[in-house]
Amino acid sequence: MSLTHPVASDHQLARLLQIGMVLEEVVEARAHKHHETLGEEVLDSDVVDLLEGAAQESAEHRRRLESLVDGLDADPVAYEEIETLVAARYESDTDFDGVLYDQLCNEETAYKFYDDLIAAIEGSDVEFSIDRDRLLAVLRGIRADERDGVEEVTAHMERRE
């Protein structure tokens, strides 16, 4: 009865990895935008560090995903393009708490995405052009980072209460 489809081809896998790249790029671009818009007068140094760390981590995840996308003979998604789209729709009324909440949503969303993607790959017996063990190792590594990220942001929020 389940309508959950396993990943059935290189093409579908590449598409999902491209979506992962976009999610990482959204995190990176929004972190920069929060910092740029609110500045260090509104954001304390802990939160500035958190945003910088999140942006760096997303850039690193993006590079890892890009190497997988390359192996599938698909095109990566250019960061500059996503940065422009984020800037065009950025809500300028975001405040300090909004930044932390946004960051928590980012980490939780990314965790859920990689968790579902790993399950879909594990449910598929298709032989991809890239090594399955390497693919899953990369995705599991990123998922673990996102789980740590959720905990880190939650701890920040609790300290502020």
Binding site: M1, L3, R15, V22, V26, E81, T109, D116
Partner: protein
């Protein structure tokens, strides 16, 4: 989007098209599952207060079911529009159907922050073409810059 959400979305669209209860056969056809599987899920939706099934007439969603179905349809619209606008996928309907079970609504919400979706969503969805009417117009003239 989980299995329940995909069923609710389909029942909602079949119901709208039929302007009345949705037949089990049409629901099963639309989802590519057997009528027995569809009946099993419809029973679950009934027990959760999301649908009502009347023998020989078909399935109608409750108000709660309609609310959840519209949310699911919105998630689907986001996936389609994201594929078209950002990744420039021409056959976005086919790919959206392939990907919808892996894209959760929280993920769709993030993708929604970079696309240009209208406030009328999901009322502008056309079940016959499996796409937003506004998106079809855009698709006929090619991806935006």
């Amino acid at each position: 989007m989980n299995t329940q959400a995909q069923y609710l979305k389909t029942i909602y669209l079949v119901q709208e098209e039929a302007d009345g209860p949705a037949s089990t056969g049409a629901i099963a056809d639309n989802l590519g599952v057997s009528p027995a599987s569809a009946n099993e899920m419809i029973g679950k939706l009934e027990s959760r207060g999301l649908a009502e099934h009347e023998k020989y007439k078909g399935v109608s969603l409750t108000d709660e079911g309609i609310g959840q179905a519209r949310d699911a349809l919105q998630t689907y619209c986001i996936i389609e529009r994201f594929l078209w606008e950002v990744l420039e996928v021409e056959d976005f309907q086919t790919e959206a159907r392939q990907l919808e079970s892996v894209i959760d609504e929280t993920v769709a919400e993030r993708l929604d922050t970079i696309i240009d979706r209208q406030d009328c969503c999901p009322d502008c969805f056309d079940a016959e073409t499996d796409a937003c009417e506004l998106l079809e117009l855009e698709a006929s003239t090619g991806p935006a810059d």
